[in-house]
């Protein structure tokens, strides 16, 4: 899907997250934030940010990279705190004590979303607050030194899923956060990636325009944790999408829409895994089984997603 903002507008709009922050070279987090905030257009914002890389690196004393009202929350409650702010704002507005318009957005990493923060996210989605939750997903706890999270892929090395004689990285499959959020039957859930700015901004626009909760789950490379070349982050994200490991899709009021189908250009997961040191051990003898399982998982999920999108197409009149 493409943004409704004109290219000129996108360029001249400026960033609501300034340069000079201390995120690593090749980190996806700031790309996620900047493009998502572009989607908020001119709306005033209250930003919530869970503890994590994004938070520490954008608020180094005596500076801050955030140009909007900003609440740093504990690791586990970005969604709860932002939903409290939203509820209070709606109440004040109803009483005529504030007149301006305001949007609410919370950012969390995968650790702060898939694991410790899932309870507060689930509660906020179920209560139906009017806010946008954005998970920048790099597949591990990078801020504390690369521990596994519920988003860490099968077979990936982290400091708490080491590879050795017995284990070859993480034993378990990753959770499907997008599906978990969709199961709350909220109006809008989408998966996006840092390599496709137009798609990401368009999804952010939709999310901010949506009345009620909206969730964006965005693939965000981490060269330190992935053990990959920082200059290749965006290219790697592109390949991960092209392999259907990270499909770009939306769930709009329960209807599944696939935004990008590589069709014949679908590449094997091996293509990008080779460039990430966190999977290096799988390319030695003994790793074949996990590589095969990873590919099978991706293929099965892609088929499932296509079937769901097919279902949506049947239910929705053409052109809707």
């Amino acid at each position: 899907m493409a943004t409704r903002l004109a290219p000129k507008e996108l360029v001249t709009r400026g960033d609501r997250l300034s340069g000079g922050h201390r995120l690593c070279a090749g980190c996806g987090a700031s790309i996620v934030v900047r493009n998502v905030l572009k989607g908020a257009k001119d709306h005033p914002l209250v930003v919530g940010c869970a503890t994590g890389c994004l938070e520490v690196s954008t608020t180094i004393y005596p500076y801050t990279a955030w140009k909007d009202a900003y609440i740093h929350t504990a690791f586990e409650n970005a969604a709860a705190t932002i939903s409290g702010a939203e509820a209070a704002f709606q109440s004040l507005k109803k009483q005529g004590k504030v007149s301006k318009d305001c949007k609410f957005v919370a950012f969390g990493g995968d650790g702060g979303t898939y694991d410790i923060g899932i309870q507060s996210l689930s509660g906020a989605l179920e209560r139906g607050h009017d806010f946008v939750y954005v998970c920048y997903d790099n597949g591990a706890y990078m801020n504390t030194g690369f521990q596994r999270s519920g988003a860490t892929p099968l077979g990936a090395w982290t400091t708490t899923t080491p590879n050795g004689k017995v284990d070859l990285g993480k034993r378990q499959n990753r959770k499907n956060l997008t599906a978990i959020c969709a199961a709350h039957n909220i109006p809008y859930v989408a998966q996006a990636s840092v390599h496709n700015f137009r798609d990401l901004i368009a999804k952010a626009e939709t999310a901010f325009e949506t009345e009620g909760p909206a969730v964006l789950v965005v693939l965000s490379p981490c060269p330190r944790g992935w053990r990959s070349d920082p200059s290749q982050s965006v290219e790697m994200a592109r390949q991960m999408v092209q392999s259907c490991y990270w499909p770009l899709y939306e769930i709009i009021d329960g209807r599944y829409v696939i935004n990008y189908d590589p069709k014949a250009k679908k590449i094997p997961v091996l293509d990008w895994m080779k460039a990430q040191g966190r999977f290096g051990h799988l390319f030695k003898a003994g790793g074949e089984d996990i590589l095969q399982r990873l590919q099978e998982n991706v293929d099965r999920e892609w088929q499932r997603l296509q079937a769901l999108a097919q279902l949506g197409a049947v239910e929705t009149p053409a052109g809707a």
Partner: protein, 374 residues
């Protein structure tokens, strides 16, 4: 063997030597290296290490594993202790042996990530609802991290209670020379968990006197074991009977307080005729030692008491150190927490708290200056 390791490494060694075979934790600096090391080391000795999805899950898993028969440990820092709070109460209520390492950093909340502090001393003491006694040990160096971890397991198992190791960033993440053989020789022997005989009629909280500790029997083992977070009788049946509840509370209080001296770990360097006592724990004790050395070299008479067991309060040892002393100096990396325990015992004496909560250490010269020892 002489090694160069950090305090967190020594905690891991101590835990494994004490018989710890279950660990669950959640990443948080400056405690993460304990999680990573336990995941590497425990499987080698047939143990289990798990990363939880948060702190609540981590301590919850430890309670489950401890009741099922393993010696268990978890490790975190201030924000994690906040999330442990309810489950620490559960461990007290269910008489669950458990070692909780708190590698303190300056709070509140995310605080100063990651700089050292002793800001959680009274937080650990009053960590959960109900206000029952807690056992808390504070290491001042890497060797202590080993020895006190062994002691923490022994106390946890002996008294069936959660025990805190009040470490902090400065002790946990600084490398020091560590003599493993010496540490092992000096550490107390690991206490083996006594369990109820297979053919007995088992009651999880049955004991002969209020200060005695009931035998454990692993959940899922030979006996039908019940466990409850609610006030209960000796069978762990929920009760609202004031008499039974009173007896339960008396037991939880007495089993710790009546054995306070058995848990007394401290270094005393008392000097006859000393007018000044420096009383310290944790990393500040190192500055206290340096200050005492300097003061004595300058001809001052100074006594020193370094507490390793900070709770239960070692009243007898503290009163002994206070004898004949007119002035007490208490350096701490907080706004003055443990000094309040000393105030209760040091009536009539001048008390000089030296407090620091800007992430830097209390220095020996500051102790000398503020304590009038120059």
């Amino acid at each position: 063997m002489i090694e160069f390791i950090e305090g967190n490494d020594a905690v891991v060694r101590g835990a494994i030597d004490a018989g710890c075979r279950f660990f669950a934790g959640y990443p948080i600096t400056p405690a993460s290296s304990i999680l990573v090391s336990m995941m590497r080391e425990l499987p080698k000795v047939g143990g289990v290490a798990v990363q939880g999805e948060d702190e609540i899950a981590s301590i919850g898993m430890c309670i489950g594993a401890a009741m099922t028969g393993y010696k268990a440990m978890t490790a975190t820092s201030g924000p994690g202790i906040s999330l442990y709070s309810e489950n620490v109460g559960l461990a007290i209520m269910g008489e669950t042996p458990l070692v909780i390492v708190n590698v303190q950093r300056q709070g509140p909340a995310t605080g100063s990530a990651t700089k050292g502090a002793d800001g959680d001393i009274e937080f650990m003491r009053w960590v959960t609802s109900g206000g029952l006694p807690m056992i808390i040990l504070a290491p001042e160096n890497v060797q202590d991290c080993y020895t006190l971890t062994v002691a923490a397991f022994n106390f946890a198992e002996r008294y069936r209670a959660p025990v805190f190791l009040a470490s902090q960033k400065e002790v946990a993440m600084i490398r020091e020379v560590f003599d493993y053989d010496r540490a092992r020789a000096e550490a107390p022997p690991a206490f083996a968990r006594p369990v109820a005989a297979v053919d007995c009629v088992y009651e999880p909280h049955a004991c002969s006197a209020p200060d005695q500790v009931p035998l454990m029997s692993p959940i899922g083992g030979p006996h039908l074991v019940r466990y409850t977070t609610s006030t209960h009788d000796q069978r762990a049946y929920l009760t609202g009977d004031p008499e039974i509840i009173g007896a339960m509370v008396e037991h939880y209080q007495r089993k710790i307080e009546a054995h306070a001296e058995e848990m007394g770990l401290y270094d005393e360097e008392l000097e006859p005729g000393a007018e000044t006592l420096i009383l310290a724990y944790g990393v500040s004790a190192r500055s206290a030692r340096a200050a005492v050395k300097k003061a004595r070299a300058a001809g001052r008479r100074v006594s020193l008491l370094v507490l390793k067991t900070i709770f239960p309060v070692q009243e007898k040892a503290i009163l002994r150190a206070l004898e004949g002393v007119s002035r007490v100096i208490v350096p701490e990396m907080n706004l003055g927490q443990y000094v309040e325990e000393i105030r209760c015992l040091a009536a009539g004496r001048e008390i000089i708290p030296i407090n620091r909560m800007n992430t830097t250490l209390v220095t020996p010269s500051e102790i000398l200056e503020r304590g009038g020892l120059l």
